[in-house]
């Protein structure tokens, strides 16, 4: 049994969700190969991951689903399982490859029971489905928050170049990627998240100071993103990022099921909300009923002064 894991790189590093996908591959057992589409430096970073016996590398400036899916289909003959992290990129590519292989993919796997049986959340995480696949090959996306990532180093796998075709029907035009000094949402140990209660984009920046003090990432509810207080990739929830940090601080967030779906596996949850009946308090370990515009500056101060 040999498993292929699609590994996402960035500036000569491997993204953490891909390291979680490798942890899921290790649960399956067997030989694991990595596939990196991107720069040589990204492939070299992948080769340093523990547990890989080979890294396949295809050089492509902009990752598009069409050529990457075709590449996976071309390679798939050698593999029993093809895995990717359930990131925007993994979710874009893997189902496309699956359809070409006549396989029903399994999205957002949170538990590997055996080679053909997997657990995945449904209905915004309000239920867990245990499914068995009858397909000859299994194509899975892995929910990163459910698998502790493998270390970034420890291996020395050989790299093999594989050719990739140009995309015919789609072309990259531009990207707007926000660069931040803060940790990535899906990799952060602490997350400070703001909701509609932040009231405007300027106020939303109140959270920056708090986040910097805690070494935290900043997240947001859908309402805060829709209203333009925060960029789209801050969104935590059923249809945004799924996170499970050590500490999640929800500020001015009511706690809709779609938001809870993205953060309720956090180890410790803090909620600050002026409404004592806000549903977020039903999942919070520590709740503070307060106006955030006094509580957030006070929290800044208390953190600075605390022994």
């Amino acid at each position: 049994m040999t498993i292929l894991v699609l590994i996402e790189g960035e500036a000569g590093t491997v993204k953490q969700p891909s390291r979680s996908a490798l942890a899921a591959a290790a649960r399956l057992g067997g030989n694991v190969h990595g596939l990196v589409v991107g720069s040589r430096a990204d492939a070299e970073a992948a080769a340093r991951l523990p547990g890989l016996s080979e890294v396949l590398h295809a050089e492509l400036a902009h990752i598009l689903a069409e050529p990457v899916a075709d590449l996976i289909v071309g390679l798939a003959g050698d593999y029993s399982h093809v895995l990717a992290a359930a990131t925007a990129s993994g979710k874009n590519i893997l189902p496309r490859a699956a359809a070409l292989l006549d396989v029903q993919p399994i999205s957002d796997v949170t538990e590997v029971m055996d080679e053909e049986t997997f657990v995945r959340p449904i209905y915004a995480g309000n239920a867990l489905a245990r499914v068995r696949s009858a397909d000859a090959k299994k194509l899975l996306t892995i929910r990163a928050a459910s698998f502790d990532p493998v270390p970034a180093t420890g291996g020395a796998a050989p790299i093999r170049a594989v050719p990739i075709a140009e995309s015919a029907g789609s072309a990259f035009v531009s990207a707007e990627i926000a660069h931040s000094e803060r940790p990535e949402l899906t990799a952060a140990r602490i997350i400070v998240s703001g909701g509609r209660g932040m009231a405007n984009a300027e106020n939303f920046h109140l959270l920056d100071k708090l986040a910097d003090k805690l070494g935290a990432a900043v997240g947001a509810s859908r309402a805060a993103v829709d209203a333009g207080y925060a960029p789209n990739d801050f969104q935590v929830g059923q249809t945004g990022k799924i996170v499970a940090p050590e500490l999640y601080i929800a500020i001015g967030i009511s706690g809709a099921i779609q938001h809870l779906a993205g953060m309720k596996d956090s180890k410790v949850i803090v909620a600050i909300n002026k409404d004592p009946d806000a549903p977020i308090f039903q999942v919070a370990d520590y709740g503070l009923v307060a106006d955030l515009f006094t509580a957030v500056p006070a929290l800044d101060e208390a953190l600075a002064n605390a022994p």
Binding site: A65, T87, A88, K91, N92, I93, L94, P95, R96, A97, A98, A99, L100, V103, P105, S107, D108, T117, I122, Y123, A124, G125, N126, A127, L128, A129, R130, V131, R132, S133, A134, A168, G169, S170, F172, V173, A175, E176, A178, I190, V225, D226, D233, T239, E246, L247, Q258, V268, I269, V270, V283, D285, Y286, G287, L288, A298, L299, A302, L303, A306
Partner: protein
């Protein structure tokens, strides 16, 4: 250009679903059903393209039990021109859905197919990508902006880290993200008018599509529940608890 939009009937997003006592599935009997919210966004986008003179006809397609006709009526009341129901007892898996939509697309020859990025029941986020693969068309998934320029689609996508814009040759597949638009409510006169719009009914057999499931649902269970913790009275107490009790800062 004809636009095909796919609409799924799902448990309403406001319903807190319950797992059945026998763990075979979630309880859907007597539960409010609605159009998948992402599909409402798909219908809205199609209507806006038509209003801008970029589309000539909007065909709404739903797959599942007879009650999916209600979902189609909603799409027709919003502004779709006609409906197609592929009737079968259960809503099939994404792979089968993609095969059925492909079969309908081969008959209808749309220039664009718009679907929601995910259905809020199975949360699979796969059908659009699979359909694009089967048709051999380019895909613009998780779209937050769509423009049609000179027989190409310029689509801005929500990705990890921000936004990305692609140019797709038509025909193409678009899947909608939340911020693509805000769907309209159907007006009463339009709801009345929608009753007269045609809905054709087809079957998987008529389309010659094998819909046999590949996945067996072994069990459905409740996720571990979190119990509510304590209320603190001040920011100082909160910081003290996070440091000494939870030891997370």
């Amino acid at each position: 250009m004809k636009i095909l939009v796919c609409v799924k009937r799902v448990v309403d997003y406001n319903v807190k679903v319950r797992v059945r006592a026998d763990h075979t599935d979630v309880e859907t009997n007597g539960v409010k059903m609605s159009m998948n919210p992402f599909d409402e966004i798909a219908v809205e986008e199609a209507i806006r393209l038509k209003e801008r003179g970029l589309a000539s006809e909007i065909v709404a397609l739903s797959i599942g039990p007879a009650a999916c006709a209600e979902t189609l009526r909603t799409a027709l009341a919003m502004g779709a021109d006609r409906g197609i129901l592929v009737e079968m007892p259960h809503s099939p898996e994404p792979l089968a859905v993609a095969k059925l939509v492909r079969a309908v697309a081969e008959r209808e020859q749309p220039g664009l197919i718009i679907l929601g990025k995910q259905a809020i029941d199975d949360d699979m986020n796969a059908t659009g990508q699979m359909l694009a693969a089967l048709l051999g068309w380019p895909q613009g998934t998780f779209a937050s902006r769509l423009e049609i320029v000179e027989s190409a689609a310029k689509v801005t996508r929500e990705i990890d880290g921000g936004l990305e814009t692609l140019r797709l040759s038509l025909p193409a597949i678009i899947t909608t993200d939340l911020r693509l638009n805000e769907p309209r409510y159907a007006s009463l006169p339009n709801i009345m008018k929608a009753r007269k719009k045609p809905i054709d009914t087809l079957t998987p057999q008529a389309l010659d599509v094998d819909v046999a499931p590949r996945l067996t649902l072994l069990s459905v269970t409740e996720p571990p529940t979190r119990k509510a913790g304590v209320k603190v009275d001040s920011v100082e107490e909160l910081v003290a608890k996070l440091k000494r009790e939870a030891k997370v800062i």
